[in-house]
Symmetry: C2
Subunit: 283 residues, 2 copies
Amino acid sequence: MLNKDKKILIVGLGLIGGSYAQALKREGFYVGAVTRSQSSIDYALSHGFIDTGSTEVSAESVGGYDLVVFALYPNVLLKWLETNQGLLKQGALLTDVTGVKSCVVYKVQAMLRSDLEFVGAHPMAGREVYGVRNADCSIFRGANYIVTPTDANTPAAIADIEELGRVLGFARISRLSPERHDEMIGFLSQLTHCIAVALMTCRDVEHMSAYSGDSFRDLTRIARINEDMWSELFLLNSDVLVNQIDIFVSQMLGIRDAVACGDVEKLRELMKLSTSRRALFDK
Amino acid sequence: MLNKDKKILIVGLGLIGGSYAQALKREGFYVGAVTRSQSSIDYALSHGFIDTGSTEVSAESVGGYDLVVFALYPNVLLKWLETNQGLLKQGALLTDVTGVKSCVVYKVQAMLRSDLEFVGAHPMAGREVYGVRNADCSIFRGANYIVTPTDANTPAAIADIEELGRVLGFARISRLSPERHDEMIGFLSQLTHCIAVALMTCRDVEHMSAYSGDSFRDLTRIARINEDMWSELFLLNSDVLVNQIDIFVSQMLGIRDAVACGDVEKLRELMKLSTSRRALFDK
């Protein structure tokens, strides 16, 4: 049970880790943090996001927590656990926030001490700004939170990580296998970021801002993108993403050909289907 | 000079025509309308958008106006003028609201009575709903308005149509040749609508709304699309649009290949360029 006696450690005080800390402190949990920069710790302490924090990973700084949230890039998370899992509390529950799952969850579960349990989770929230100074737990409101359990997980641990999503304020908590998650996110999130980047870089746009309407702004909002994080996420899900790009490009070329040969009926049919499907997302 | 003595006729009381009428009445102009449906006239009269309106095109209903705004689909506009331009007032100034220009402006100017003058304009505003019942002139606030004069136009008429954009409340008034306009709009608006439709129709999405984040919603907001209007706009600008799709798809395939072969440097470079360029559109 994720009750208020549980002490929670955030590993990595960035935008997401900081927002987790802020939300959990508000809910009355004891929250500790380890992160690389002392100034992030200082900021989080002075803003009441955490009870304690350290830039050192030691038995003292990480060994007293029942729940550990890794708010790190996937590859950093794997290395952290390799090096430091011996320091974690007996029986601790672990989770993460990364946007790819198959390549993280199974590796973590395979390397983990037998008394620890890891349940992957993906909080589908973010901003175009970074760092704990931009942390703001209101980004979770109305957003989706996906838990990705495997056969290695216990019902109790899965329930705790789902409860964490509720405590953080997410609107919808769902459960997907790591594979289904990655396939879905390859389409809904990674492909859309590829599109935004392609649109922003495929031709000269320097002189265009005076002529753009809302549509171009909408499609490129996410073109302000953290290149380190997203290039890593893309490559960790590359088979899925390449497939989603191929499916999308094939549809674009179908529209291209309909435009080129004046096939107004095909264009209208596609637009009608598009309109009716989009309604599902406005609920 | 576009002063308050000028009487303005709106031809076509849809979302845009209705919003023009509403804005112009508020500014104190005398506004008349002709449109196909009596219920649209009744709505506009009862909401104070117009002073008078008719479903009949006659010397009485269209012959007394100094400025005539055609808020019609491009092909309907051309037919209307062919049939009815003889009824318009001597020396009247004409403009339109259509999203494609080369194929409209030159044809109109070539067929026009020598005492009439037509200056094309594109109000870059719209909504995902239609009809005069959704008219709302606040959609012009913060939006762009592009005037597309040609050698056939006089400085005084161009100035009047630019002034019309200011009176309507547009934030930015620009001037482009019809060809430059269509090239710009092919990229900024038509290509983005193609992308939204392709994204919404390229695979099954029925079960996905529980997992989508803001990015997918942003990229598909315009996937609710008026199939009659947009298929016509696409085909009237087909050479430009096909070219823009090809440029965009080629960039998508470049990203695809970088993902497929793990070229993290190329991905980071593209994302950095994307981020810096996007900043231009946030001003």
